[in-house]
Amino acid sequence: MTTNPPNAKDKKNKIVIVDDDADLLNILIYSFEAQGYEVQGISNGKEAKQFLADEKNVKAVSLLILDRLLPDMDGLELLQMFEEKYHNQIPVLILSVLSAEKDVISGLKYGAIDYMSKPFNLPILMRKAQALLSHYPEKK
């Protein structure tokens, strides 16, 4: 029997989604918010870099969902910067059309915990996100 996600009601887990596709960003934001999460969407690499470079911002983040092909950079560049600064502190899930073996391996090598290809199944993505959130330490 399925239940509501373990942490969503107890406290606000913040999810940051970096994706320039408004159609997907919107449905992800609505879906996660409906499950009780706080969500922030960022649609380009430059803004994402600025946001993630600030430790105060990152302190509140419980999960980062990252697209690869951003208008101004490859998401892997962002991931590399993020991992150098916050290695293993926050799980990163890559969500991308680029899903050949070499792409998935690159993403995992750069530090992503999981790599899902687009187009995605929304309920499956939600379950993966919940699983990642429940396996990492809670944010105070």
Partner: protein, 117 residues
């Protein structure tokens, strides 16, 4: 069905309706970019076309249009190859010949409304 799944189902249904209404605008955008490229080769427009096709490859299937995602993935790969071999394009008079065929397939894919959700 529990409350959480029910909310998700409703969000998906509503979002699909919004997406469906955005299809004509998406097709127009693609057609405008292709028409521009038929007139002359332009790296920026080619990259813009690739970005739009790439987005469709990524989102169409999520909204129930899986054939459109498949066609766009193929088109995306072809456009990427062109971008990686830009120098050869101006010398090839047929370089954009199959763009319209791709657009027609995408259009047909969107018209097939009986997509499994």
């Amino acid at each position: 069905m529990n409350e959480s799944n029910e909310k998700l189902k409703n969000i998906l249904l509503h979002s699909k309706e919004v997406y469906k209404h955005s299809i004509p605008e998406k097709m127009k955008r693609l057609q405008d970019l292709v028409n521009h490229l038929h007139e002359r080769f332009d790296e920026e427009t080619l990259r813009s076309l690739r970005l739009e096709v790439h987005k469709l490859a990524g989102n169409a299937g999520t909204y129930g249009y899986m054939p459109v995602s498949k066609i766009c993935k193929q088109f995306d790969e072809e456009l990427l190859l062109m971008i990686q071999n830009l120098k050869s394009i101006p010398n090839d008079p047929n370089w954009s010949n199959n763009f319209d065929a791709y657009l027609n397939k995408i259009k047909e894919g969107f018209l097939d409304d009986n997509q499994p959700s």
